[in-house]
């Protein structure tokens, strides 16, 4: 049973993550995607917003995205507490500082702005979109990597911990 507490190999992880798509479709009738939860959170926090993006958003039909996000946090808690002998740190130690907090805030901003502008993230575009042969999702995924590679190789010295 030791394998449970070790990090899981890529092929088991890949297969099980891929199965999220049919599971969500069959058990809840929903397409797998996570970044919509941000819009749902915004629409719930500002129900009287004048911004059309939030005011015309169907809060009831998308409530499940928040339930899904809570589920992810609960699952991560279970995995860290009960399924890992020595949980690996998820962020480098250098992020545990004021400058780290600022980096995460800026990076988070790009995630929130970017995924909403692109209409999806790794789950909605890269996994669900591509697996449904939706070509704009392939374009989105290519540009996810263009942005990530540009930052990693170009601005790396400024942003990344040594």
């Amino acid at each position: 049973m030791n394998w449970i507490t070790e990090p899981w190999p890529w092929w088991i992880s890949g297969i099980l993550i891929g199965l999220t798509v049919p599971l969500l479709y069959i058990l809840a009738g929903k397409a797998f995607g996570i970044s919509t939860s941000l819009q749902q959170a915004g629409a719930m926090c500002a129900p009287n917003s004048k911004l059309e993006y939030l005011s015309t958003f169907d809060r009831k039909a998308n409530l499940w995205t928040i339930v899904f996000a809570v589920g992810i946090a609960v699952g991560a808690f279970i995995a860290t507490r009960f399924l890992s002998s020595e949980p690996a740190p998820l962020l480098p130690e250098s992020f545990d500082s004021a400058s780290g907090g600022i980096k995460l805030l800026v990076g988070g901003f790009l995630i929130g702005f970017g995924t909403r502008y692109a209409g999806g993230c790794t789950s909605g575009h890269s996994i669900t979109g591509i697996s449904n042969l939706n070509w704009p999702s392939l374009v989105a995924t290519i540009f996810f990597f263009v942005g990530g590679l540009a930052v990693t190789w170009g601005l790396g010295q400024l942003i990344f911990p040594a």
Binding site: A28, G75, A76, F113, V139, F144
Partner: protein, 153 residues
Amino acid sequence: MSEEAKAADQNSSGMSPLNYLFVLLIGAYLGILFIKSEVARWERVHDMFLFREAHMYLIISVAIVVAMISMLIIKRFKVKSIDGKPITYKPKPYHTGVIIGGMLFGAGWAITGACPGPIYAQIGSGEWMALFTLAGALLGMFSYAALKPKLPH
């Protein structure tokens, strides 16, 4: 709320309490996977963008293939959801934001080591600095909401 109002309420979201329970459970399943596969780990994302290891690329590729085969089966056999509703994929449209927004998200992914799902996983596992990532993501979402009418789509 009367029983009828409740029923109407439920109808408008199209989801039963059982559906919500399943969503919660599938979320937990995915949260466990994000931690056990280490895709919610900054080093893994960094090593992916540095082409230092294939781990993330392999996971994403396998996930896409498994999802694609699942969709072929669902479409071929017209599989329905447990509520008896047909399963249909609503295509995400192409517009300029797919490119610009896509690049910005990729940059954020590289900086924080998280995409939207892993943000929740990092917080759930007790990585409290990820609250900054979530706060940033919400600010980014609000900024997009404010700027949307002015952005090319």
